[in-house]
């Protein structure tokens, strides 16, 4: 595996291929994925992780594109992971977030990966956590995660990221939506994107009122933006950069480590169950402790 690279050097495709293939392995799941994640978590690293979420078409990718050049002024390099939905019918997916990205800032300093949700609920893919950990270990100092278009509750990103930007639009809802649980409770900053559309002022007032009711010292700020023109993006980035700088050291990493352990445990149990069901453990219940130990030894051998 490689290290995130310096700005001037030409793109090292061999290093990138290694990283890209490791992500594919993680997406394929199973033991190999767990081993890769374990190794990643053992590597000292401490990336800032920024989640960007909001309803379909709100302008998440367009904002990523507008924020990238600003982020590159503060961070030596940036990795973007963009999740889009898989079809529940065919398993296929149209991963279209790249279409919005202005590639002029690409080169060695930006790594961009599109990821299909592959049936996972919660606004991200099952492989998203481990991929963040891998990118972190690969020394990308800022990792941006774009979730798929979410509704009101698919907020798993909150557990994986240091900070979360919620993207909404004018006309997104009235005072009732603004006070419903979910979206408005979890963001660290809010963009009212498509500020060129009617209804901006009302949306801003409602959202700010709702955020002021949160039991926090400093309620999140609301930034009107026009991602496609860059309007308001500098102010938004200023806030995000400060939030990331102030985020407690290793806070999201600790949560990702706990989640990784939980995933490993679940995988182990399910593998053992499969092993038992595949003949290894016929009538296990009636076996003596000695036989059970043999079984475990067999299982262990099979796995390693």
């Amino acid at each position: 595996m490689s290290n995130a690279a310096d700005a001037a050097a030409p793109v090292d495709f061999e290093q990138r291929k290694a990283l890209a293939r490791a992500i594919t392995s993680i997406e394929s799941g199973g033991n190999q994925a767990l081993t890769l994640e374990e190794a990643a978590l053992a590597t000292p690293a401490n990336a800032h992780v920024l989640g960007i979420t909001g309803p379909p078409g709100a302008g998440k990718s367009s904002l990523v594109s507008a924020l990238l050049p600003l982020a590159l002024q503060r961070y030596s390099s940036v990795a973007v992971l963009a999740v889009d939905p898989s079809s529940a019918v065919t398993g296929g997916a149209l991963l279209g977030d790249r279409v919005r990205i202005d590639y002029r800032h690409f080169g060695n300093r930006v790594f961009f990966r599109s990821m299909a949700s592959r049936g996972h609920q919660g606004g991200i893919a099952a492989a998203t956590r481990a991929t963040i950990n891998l990118l972190d270990a690969d020394q990308w100092p800022l990792i941006i995660i774009e979730t798929l278009g979410i509704g009101q509750v698919e907020l798993d990103i909150v557990d994986l990221a240091d900070r979360v930007l919620v993207v909404l639009n004018p006309g997104w809802g009235d005072g009732f939506q603004a006070n419903k649980a979910g979206l408005t409770e979890q963001g660290d900053a809010f963009a009212l994107n498509k500020a060129d559309r009617p209804g901006l002022e009302q949306a801003k007032i409602l959202l700010e009122q709702s955020l002021q009711c949160l039991p926090v010292e400093r309620p999140p700020s609301v930034f009107p933006t026009i991602a496609t023109d860059g309007d308001g993006v500098t102010e938004l980035w200023h806030d995000l950069a400060q939030l990331l700088a102030d985020s407690p050291t290793e806070s999201s990493k600790k949560r990702r480590i706990l989640a990784a352990r939980e995933a490993a445990r679940a995988q182990l149990l399910s593998d053992f169950e499969t092993f038992l069901n595949c003949g290894g453990g016929e009538a296990t219940q009636e076996k003596s402790p000695g036989t059970a130990t043999d079984l475990l030894a067999q299982f262990y051998q099979q796995r390693s």
């Binding site: 990138r16 890209a20 992500i23 594919t24 079809s87 065919t90 991963l95 790594f111 599109s114």
Partner: protein, 129 residues
């Protein structure tokens, strides 16, 4: 088995989106993960093919065949085993040039079922015939 991944790129500055969009949709409906990058330079196509670790690169070619041929060369030199296929309004002599580089080429009027069958073949989902 994991879904196969296909990059769908447009070479050249060209507003003809319908072809690649329809093809991408057909591939999606056949179970592929299709990564759209839109209009892209040679370097951007290569970088996307690498970062996305795709199994197949699709090029929608509009206008200048030279640009497309350069993109093919760049992909093939960076990713030697990467299969490519292409479509769009490609004149017959240009189709031959692309085929000479090992591409399967689908000019206007090609059936989507043939394109999907080609994707299945090129990504190893069905055997070569």
């Amino acid at each position: 088995m994991r879904p196969k991944r296909i990059l769908m790129a447009k070479t050249g500055l060209d507003g003809h989106w319908r072809g690649p969009t329809i093809v991408a949709r057909a591939l999606r409906d056949a179970g592929f993960e299709v990564i759209m990058i839109g209009m892209a330079t040679t370097n951007e196509i290569v970088a996307a093919a690498v970062d996305e670790d795709v199994d197949l690169v699709g090029l929608n070619i509009g206008g200048h065949i030279d640009v497309a041929l350069r993109a093919v060369d760049a992909v093939q030199s960076t990713c030697p085993d990467m299969p490519l296929f292409a479509g769009g309004t490609i004149p017959p002599h240009a189709c031959k040039q692309l085929e000479a580089k090992g591409l399967e080429v689908f000019p206007p009027g090609s059936a989507l079922t043939d394109i999907v069958a080609s994707a299945n073949r090129l990504t190893g989902l069905s055997s070569q015939q």
